[in-house]
Symmetry: C2
Subunit: 246 residues, 2 copies
DNA sequence: CGGAATGTTGACCACTGTCAAGAGCGGTGG
DNA sequence: CCACCGCTCTTGACAGTGGTCAACATTCCG
C-alpha cells in the first residue's frame, strides 16, 4: 500500500467517519472504489458551470473554490473546499453543475466515476445517509454565508470567514493553534466576501491594526481568537461535524 | 378520503414525483405516514433556531420563511418555502435546527414524527435518494442566493428574487401567467434581500416605474417578464426540478 | 534580473443606510 | 357605520460604508 492510498484513506474515510460510524465492510468498499489520482495546477477548473461531469472527486491535497459567475465578469465564490471534501457530489444526482470548481493552489485529487459512486450508495444505505448528511451540513454553511453577506459589515464578514476556515482546517488537523495556511489572494477573498479587492485590503489592515490577525507568507495567524470570534459574531454550531469543538 | 388527505397527497407526493419516479408501494407508504394536520397563525415559529425538533412538517398551505438572526436584531431570511416543501428535514439527520422557520401567512401543515420519516427512508432507498436530491437542489438555491447577495445590486437582486418566486410558484400551479400572490411586507422582503425596508421600497418603485412589475393587494403582477429576467440576469437552471420550463 | 501578478494608498463618488415625519390602509370596537 | 389605532408604505434630507479609478510599491516567479 503506497503513500497515495494512505492519503486517500486518511482523507475520505476520516471525513465520513466524522459524519457517522462506518462498518468494516463499508470501509473496504470505499477503499476498493475505482479511482484515479491526479494533480492539477493552480487555476485549473476541475468542474465547469453547466457541464454534466461523468465523475466526482475527493480532494486529497490543496484548496479549491466553488464559484458562480454572471456574464459581465462579476463572480462570487460560494464555498471553499479543503482536503477530504467531495467535489461535484451534487452532479451524481443532479446531472449537471450549477457552478465551477477551481483550484486555488496545486491540488491532488482522486477521481471516482459517478457510476461507481452511485452503485456504492445503492449497496450501502448507511453511506447514502452519510453523504446526505454531508449535503445537509453543506447547506447549513451556505445559509450562514447568506447571513454573512446579507447582514454583516465588511469587517464582521471578513472576520467571520477567517473564523470558519480556521475551524474547518482545525477539524482535519491542518492548523496549528489558530494559525493556518491561507494561500489565496486578496482578490479571491474579495470574491468570497462580496467585496472589492481594495476594500478587502483595507478591512484586513483594520483587523491587523486591532491586533486580531496577521497574514504574511500565505500564512494566516490569529493573534486574538476570542476577539476575532467576538468581532465576527462567530458561533461554530452551523458547522456541525465539520468543526472541532472550539 | 377527506379533503385534507387530498391536499396532503397533492402536495407531498406531487413534489416528490417532480424529483423522480415513485413506485406504487412508496406512494402508499407515504400516504400511510403517521401525521397530524394543524394550522398556525401568521408569525408563529414552526421551528426555532437551536432546538432539536422531534418532527418535520410538510407545508400544505401558506408561505413560510427560514431565517437566522444575529443577536442585535439584525436578521436574514435565508429561504422561502411554498406548499409541498418539507420543513425541518435537516433536523432528521442533524438533530438540531441552525435556523428558525416562521409563518409569513396563516399556514396549514402536516406534522410527521422524525422517527417515522427515518424508518421510511430505511425501508425505501429510493425515497432517501429523492430526499437527498431535494437537499441538493436546496443547496443549489442557497448558492444562487449567495451570488445574489454578494454580487448583484439592489435592483438586480430584487428582480432576481421575484423571478425565482415566480418560477417556483409556477411549478406547483400557484401562479397565473407570471403573476402570483405575494402576501408579505416590504420589511420581510428586505430581510431576504439584505437591504433596508426603505431601500426595498425605492427599488420596487424603480421596478414599477420601468414597467416591469406591479404589486397591489398582496398580488405581484409581472408586467414584462423578459425585461424582468433580463434585469435580474435570471437563469432558472439552478432550480432544477423546482422550476417549470420558463 | 525582469516582468507580471499582487498588495497598498489616496482622492473621490455613489449606492444604500439612517432618521424622521407623514400618508394610506386595514382591522377592531363602540 | 363610523372612528380610531396600529401597521405598513412613502418620502425627503442627510450620512456612511464600500466602490471606483489610478498610481505606485512589493512580491513572486520564470
Amino acid at each position: 500500500m503506497d503513500r497515495l492510498v494512505n492519503i486517500y484513506e486518511d482523507r475520505l474515510i476520516a471525513k465520513l467517519e466524522r459524519l457517522g460510524p462506518l462498518s468494516e465492510d463499508e470501509r473496504h468498499l470505499l477503499q476498493d472504489l475505482p479511482r484515479t489520482e491526479t494533480s492539477f495546477p493552480t487555476r485549473h477548473d476541475l468542474f465547469r458551470e453547466g457541464e454534466p461531469p461523468p465523475h466526482c472527486m475527493v480532494l486529497l491535497e490543496g484548496l479549491v473554490c466553488r464559484c458562480k459567475g454572471i456574464g459581465d465578469g462579476r463572480r462570487q465564490i460560494v464555498a471553499f473546499n479543503i482536503p477530504g471534501d467531495i467535489l461535484g457530489l451534487a452532479s451524481i444526482l443532479l446531472g449537471r453543475m450549477d457552478h465551477s470548481i477551481g483550484a486555488l493552489t496545486p491540488v491532488h485529487v482522486a477521481i471516482i466515476p459517478n457510476a461507481a459512486m452511485l452503485a456504492l450508495t445503492e449497496r450501502c444505505p448507511n453511506l447514502t445517509r452519510l453523504l446526505w448528511r454531508e449535503t445537509l451540513i453543506e447547506a447549513a454553511v451556505f445559509r450562514e454565508w447568506v447571513l454573512n453577506l446579507g447582514r454583516r459589515s465588511a469587517y464582521e464578514r471578513t472576520a467571520h470567514l477567517l473564523c470558519e476556515i480556521s475551524s474547518r482546517l482545525h477539524a482535519i488537523g491542518l492548523s496549528r493553534g489558530h494559525s493556518y495556511p491561507l494561500p489565496i489572494t486578496q482578490a479571491e477573498l474579495a470574491d468570497a466576501l462580496g467585496l472589492t479587492p481594495v476594500h478587502v485590503n483595507r478591512t484586513l489592515q483594520h483587523l491587523r491594526a486591532n491586533g486580531l490577525i496577521e497574514w504574511r507568507h500565505r500564512m494566516l495567524v490569529v493573534r486574538n481568537w476570542p476577539a476575532l470570534k467576538e468581532a465576527a459574531g462567530f458561533d461554530p454550531a452551523y458547522l456541525y461535524e465539520l468543526a472541532a469543538a472550539a
